[in-house]
Subunit: 248 residues, 2 copies
DNA sequence: CGTACGCTTGACTCGTGTCAAAGCCAGTGG
DNA sequence: CCACTGGCTTTGACACGAGTCAAGCGTACG
């Protein structure tokens, strides 16, 4: 569950490699990327909308989220990120950030300079492709979230979010069979599925009453994966993982 | 308003160049991309979820949309595309499509083989960056849509969608000062903002009653841009256009 | 031990969905 | 040239999901 004996890059490289089968040289180049590690507390902005960062953030441990605010101050979380993700990789090509990135738990993050990333991309087109692909998967997840928020009721929305968490965490080895850690407040869940926190509470009770989920502290367990998938209308296709991981 | 004397690539190249200032050689390489033109009727799928196309679609004339369906068959449109866009550029790196792409009006589209795109990307890293950036802007728009659908009421959502259309169309020269063509049914608008078509009808009437929009056939005019932006909570930052276009 | 934050509950309100019927074209064919 | 048709828009009545408000509860932490 901790970063353990890995280098900060390990999870990211493993993820890139699961699709692209990089050469030893390419992997080495990634390993050699200078990373400035930093420990952050929970509920802390990493970068803010309007910023023009000169570095990307690599999430090593903990969960982060990307959020936006309406002019009236309502918050919408548009993505959660788990270890191995690069939550603001977009900043490599978009000069100014259109969203804010914040920790939701205490986090270990590594910062990689844009110039270092650009150098490695120029030299290794396959790494460029792999990183590009990462941003495309992000985009695919956003599309699914639009569907989720736009066309499912609160009950299915929540079920869908839980399904997504399970699959993403399993893919990086942070979930056992059927249980994983979900250290989010009901307010954060509400901001993610576009409802009120009161209603999140009712929906969670309903999910528990129907035995679709069980929870102990921040641990969530899913007794019947197929049943939860069904009520969520969840199809992992949009996560674009390789089949072994999804099947699990 | 028609494709006119342009080659099919013109709008796309102009868009890429507005950010990246490509060299003559790079522009020529783009111009030389083989494109297979095709005329399509309205309401026709171009590619479907689950497909693995070997080509990308370049929209030359008309509007297309990307949509997804819930298991119960509810449709959510997650993006609209206008001439100059490449609505399924993602397929270059994601083997299987996670959404469907359809025309909403009669369209002229050009198909570009993936292998041709990959070849040009390998040779010209700046073109890679420009195309990558395009997909990042798409992702940014998806994020804004999550906010739109999740945290704004139907009235603001519709206003926001209209603002986005105006800015995108102006950027490719398809909108005069304050009026543009919006040949969408209320059902399509409903699928885009995640409400029922009946409610779309009421919201549009409300917008007209408040003189925030006027419409004649499919033509929409915006009498007071600042006022519409205000009720929509619209900030064009997320479209990542260069400032001259946005200001207009 | 208290204080703060998050969770839970109930009552009430309100935005939207649903259903069903009617009106309005624009295109088609007789 | 006009009646027919089908798709889209418009309307009204009603139902329901979800938001809001406000109070009370639990618990982790200083």
């Amino acid at each position: 569950m901790t970063a353990g004996p890995h280098s900060p890059h390990t999870l990211m490289i493993r993820k890139l490699e699961s699709i692209f089968r990089l050469s030893t040289e390419e992997k080495q180049a990634l390993h050699d990327l200078p990373v400035q590690l930093q420990l952050l507390k929970a509920d802390q902005d990493i970068v803010r909308i309007g910023d023009s960062p000169s570095q990307c953030c690599l999430l090593v441990e903990g969960y982060t989220c990307v959020y936006k605010l309406t002019t009236e101050g309502k918050r919408q979380i548009v993505a959660f990120y788990v270890p191995g993700d690069m939550p603001d990789l977009q900043s490599l090509h978009l000069k100014v950030l259109d969203n804010s990135l914040a920790t939701v738990t205490p986090c270990t993050v590594g910062f990689i300079q844009h110039e270092d990333l650009r150098r490695i991309c120029d030299r290794y087109p396959r790494i460029t492709a792999a990183l590009w692909r990462e941003t495309l998967v992000d985009a695919s997840i956003f599309r699914e979230w639009v569907l989720n928020v736009g066309r499912r009721d609160a009950f299915s929305r929540m079920a869908h979010l839980l399904c997504e968490f399970r699959v993403k965490l399993k893919a990086v080895g942070l979930a056992e069979d059927d249980t994983f850690d979900l250290p989010l407040t009901q307010g954060e869940l509400a901001d993610a599925i576009g409802t009120s926190n009161v209603h999140v509470n009712r929906v969670l009770q309903d999910l528990r009453a129907k035995d679709l989920i069980r929870s102990k502290g921040t641990q969530v367990t899913i007794p019947d994966w197929e049943k939860l998938k069904a009520v969520a209308g969840f199809d992992p296709l949009y996560l674009h993982l390789e089949s072994e991981e999804v099947a699990a």
